[in-house]
Symmetry: C2
Subunit: 702 residues, 2 copies
Amino acid sequence: MRKRILLFAAALLASAGAHAQTIHSPNHRLALTFALTPAGEPSYQLSYGSKPVIKPSRLGVLLRGGAGMEQGFVVAGVDSSAHDDTWTPVWGEVKSIRNHYQELAVTLRQPQQQNRALVLRFRVFDDGLGFRYEWPRQQQLAYFVVSEERTEFNLPADHKAFWIPGDYDSNEYRYTTSRLSAINTLPIKQLEMRAAPYTVQTPLMLKADDGLYINIHEAGLENYSAMFLNVDTKTFGLRSQLVPDAMGNMAYLQTPDHTPWRTVVVADNAPAVLASKLILNLNEPSRIADTGWIKPQKFVGVWWLMQVGKASWNYADSTNLKLATTDWSKLKPNGRHGATTARVKQYIDFAAAHHIEGVLVEGWNVGWEDWVGNWKEDVFDFVTPYPDFAVDELRDYAAAKGVHLIMHHETSGSATNYERRQEDAYRFMQEHGYPAVKTGYVGKIIPRGEHHDGQWMVRHYARAARLTAASRLMIDMHEPVRPTGLHRTYPNWLASEAARGNEFNAFSEGNLPEHETILPFTRLMGGPMDYTPGIFKIKLDDYGPQEKGRQVHTTLAKQLALYVTMYSPLQMAADLPENYEPHLDAFKFIEDVPVDWDDTRIVAAEPGDYLTIARQAKGRDEWYLGSITDENARQQSVKLDFLRPGQRYEATIYADGKGADWEKNPTSYRISKQQVTNKSTLKLRLAPGGGAAVSIKPVGGK
Amino acid sequence: MRKRILLFAAALLASAGAHAQTIHSPNHRLALTFALTPAGEPSYQLSYGSKPVIKPSRLGVLLRGGAGMEQGFVVAGVDSSAHDDTWTPVWGEVKSIRNHYQELAVTLRQPQQQNRALVLRFRVFDDGLGFRYEWPRQQQLAYFVVSEERTEFNLPADHKAFWIPGDYDSNEYRYTTSRLSAINTLPIKQLEMRAAPYTVQTPLMLKADDGLYINIHEAGLENYSAMFLNVDTKTFGLRSQLVPDAMGNMAYLQTPDHTPWRTVVVADNAPAVLASKLILNLNEPSRIADTGWIKPQKFVGVWWLMQVGKASWNYADSTNLKLATTDWSKLKPNGRHGATTARVKQYIDFAAAHHIEGVLVEGWNVGWEDWVGNWKEDVFDFVTPYPDFAVDELRDYAAAKGVHLIMHHETSGSATNYERRQEDAYRFMQEHGYPAVKTGYVGKIIPRGEHHDGQWMVRHYARAARLTAASRLMIDMHEPVRPTGLHRTYPNWLASEAARGNEFNAFSEGNLPEHETILPFTRLMGGPMDYTPGIFKIKLDDYGPQEKGRQVHTTLAKQLALYVTMYSPLQMAADLPENYEPHLDAFKFIEDVPVDWDDTRIVAAEPGDYLTIARQAKGRDEWYLGSITDENARQQSVKLDFLRPGQRYEATIYADGKGADWEKNPTSYRISKQQVTNKSTLKLRLAPGGGAAVSIKPVGGK
């Protein structure tokens, strides 16, 4: 389907100056124009119909110890082609995905630099633009170090932005909503290592006054540092800011090589942004041949207990222990250890009774007494259980109940230590019946001077995905770089955290009621999040003085809705079994809701305000609907026209109850049932900070 | 044997100010005095009889992000004890080693810093002083970061010094001999990353005008960065300068913890410095329980061929290859590849014919096309042979001849890559019959920002020693930090390079004729060196234009003498078999000379001038003698009074021949035999840059 339409010799074009090339999206709404400035600087612009999306913006990459690749270029070749095919994800929101774009590949050369070549490849889809820098294999350039990338996204106006500050090591911030001109990261409390002021993270969600919704991110970040955006609050120009390593370098590359795709999703309505598959399309197909062992799943876990301070990850209260020399059996147990054999059996029992596939256990392995804050290299060995955790007994107990345990590997940011022990740790998992692992990277990275979002760690995460795949293990990463669609390439990489999860309600001022209406437009653009919804005991004061005044900032019904609105193939039912037991009627929705889908409809959406999504269960004529709102009560009408015509369904509606309010009365909920068809319209009332969840199952014959 | 003689309460001593403690060496020649200054600064001084060795010098360690531990101390306890025992090394220069010292342990506390504790432990031997900083386990201090160590060695006069510049990544310098006042590292060509000017490496050899020989180094460097010495050329004060990591930090410690021992060997004659076992005594005993598989050995290797440019490590001349995606079988062989099956068989044949145990093969594995200079992480995989290297066939061929292959793991400085693949690589060795490995760390270290001599790499080397030991493998490290006696603790760690080896004669301006008379007083103080002696084809011009004017800077006879004067349990016969064949009479010495000894006598020595050593073969009544000189011809008389009385011996003398001269006539040698007894005196004539080697074997009955 490739069609070469233009190929000029470099000599012909050397004098062309602003020689421009334009391609359009398949539906012709989007137009991408590439040009060189008179100084030979590459630039591009993007428009949506008559509306400018990106004004002329320069492109370029600076190299350490040599001339940059940002000017002095001539066009040596232009290649345009069309692409249209459809592929099937291993799991996801929809059964199949169309990959339909027009491509423009501009080969640039630098006559003053031994004619070094750089290819700029643009792909224009109906839902946006992707482009990247590619360095072909060439004599003039083999190994090189990127010192800076100068990709601009010059915006035409002072859009509304949903942003978190650029932090080399953390995405776990509340979102701020402001005009571009009002972005200021300085007043925001720093969590880890802050980038330059006025630098924000991607995915950056923007809303223009002319009605366009624009999302800027990247795709396929596997061998480069993450891209932040430095904001010029006067001109509304954004410029790429990469994450440096200890030497201040941004990436070490070897030709042939390329940057990740820089992505600009554009739509004239918010739901279309959430429906975009542009980022997945720009990622490479699965590198795992046999994916039959990859199973989307729900899980419970020995976890929230620790978040609310009712149990500890650590077995003893001793500190200053050394992994190599401590005799863990001699430590005095603190009596609050969460991961005991007896407790895990309770969780297994609960999971088995409610068709939950997995049981995560955190704090099962030695090292938690000294796990964080010391920049210590040898923290965990990943294979030694605490004395009160009977790993073989639990494997057998779980297996007998048809449940599996989910492994936990907290690295404490010590990636070097994890890399040394990774293969042993995965062997241990295989031997003890763990098909999946949750990893964690809390704290400062070792190698010291590297960052969570730098190239070295980006490669580490991808390697972890490959190593687990080689052992037929699934992986869920906490505190990695935010995702960029690599779950297409590594479908065993089920989910990541890389944002501010539900847990923050347990140990901080919490998340704002609007938080979950923004995440799908930001963090989730790159891939599934392990957000850990399903907290039923909303007010946390009972857990003890440390939780005084804390609560989850939603209603209980909204917690249910999140299983639909926050797509992930890995969903936790995060609360304690004892908190579910009094509400098994509500828990039925969690029990029922799938984690893999044949279809998805974004019914209504506005970032920061509300979101309603309907999804069809994988391989079944069942639909599930989630609707959430921010701090404002709303009514939401949902036309069920996606249902199969002629079929009657029973809708079970898990709604906010009388007087429900996230703050004043969060656990008031009401469950009702009604018969519906594809002609029906559901009317949902969402309380302040509330939501609704609906399951829709066929009744009778076809 | 411990005797607590003094223990004061801190309160009593707080006002003691310069309260001093003195201990003496067992022979009472050396006196060590500890004192606190009025500001609570620890200080020490050392004298030899009436001669000052170290004038009052301060001690202290600064911590990152907190008050330092260099002042504000009070003495909380003083503990003195004597120690005397004898231990047996797994291999070495002597059969048994006496560890005899007086110890002073001063417990200091900082009342202004929550009474934090620091112990200064001094051990005074007849041959010198060792001391270190120890941090006991304490509530007030668990994890801490050393930002600077302020250990002073204030010398009383402008001693003569044998020094190389401080370089965080290399010891491969020629030695400069100068007064302390004339030390200036700036004019010396930088090899890798230079420390501050006027900083020199240890072991630093000093000679005082009053006749004392002083050697400053360290012992037991396993979890700290290497210590360099910053020289004040006016006051002759030396101060510790540690090697920083990417963050500028020197070490990350956790109590209980300690620095390596800082060592000062002192003697009134040069041979006594070489006979000192102080550094070994300060290291910990072997951590390897069963050492029966550890075998000192000689080896030949496919190596010098590449050093002189007659063959290549790389199989193809392609460059810019990627380890993961290159099909090595498709590369076009360059026809100069050294490590071919046929050539290795020749080396095996030669080794078998001459009772050489090992055959090292470099360039056997894929990756050498792009191995250095690119700061590339994934260079080698350590398990994939080039297409022309038949690993199984060679294993069987060698085994049939009673020879084994020695593995080669060049890491190209990419320690992270090596760590990921290390266990697979050692498994490969076990499966293919390699009992020993030579590692290499050429180039800039990855993790980027770490240095060869920093704490992270220091730990890496020790880990490599432990991992190989766990697989019952011996190890020889090239380009590591210089040794500090850890071969006592890890006797499978046979040797290291970490200095300017014989190889420099092949690819640079070469080593000075005095080089090998200095190395035993400097680099070898810490442990054996893989110097690769035994080059018989001294003039290298024949190898091609790249070797024009190059030569080994010794006579042939001196190459033989090095097998005795440069102690190592691992000795290469470094030249090509074809260069040995015409001189098998001389090669007989290499064939005969042991690599493990029951006794060693330093007959005569002066750093920079000459060195004569006699050693008794392990378990045999045979002696071997090596005598070398610098650029000056010398006569050397050797009384053979170490021979067993009443036994007649045949001495075979491999001496410089008529007109021999390292530069003009290096290959003139003469082999003679004479009968000797313990009453005999051998008279050896050493040519300029020459030497002599002697084997002494019993004749007749006892």
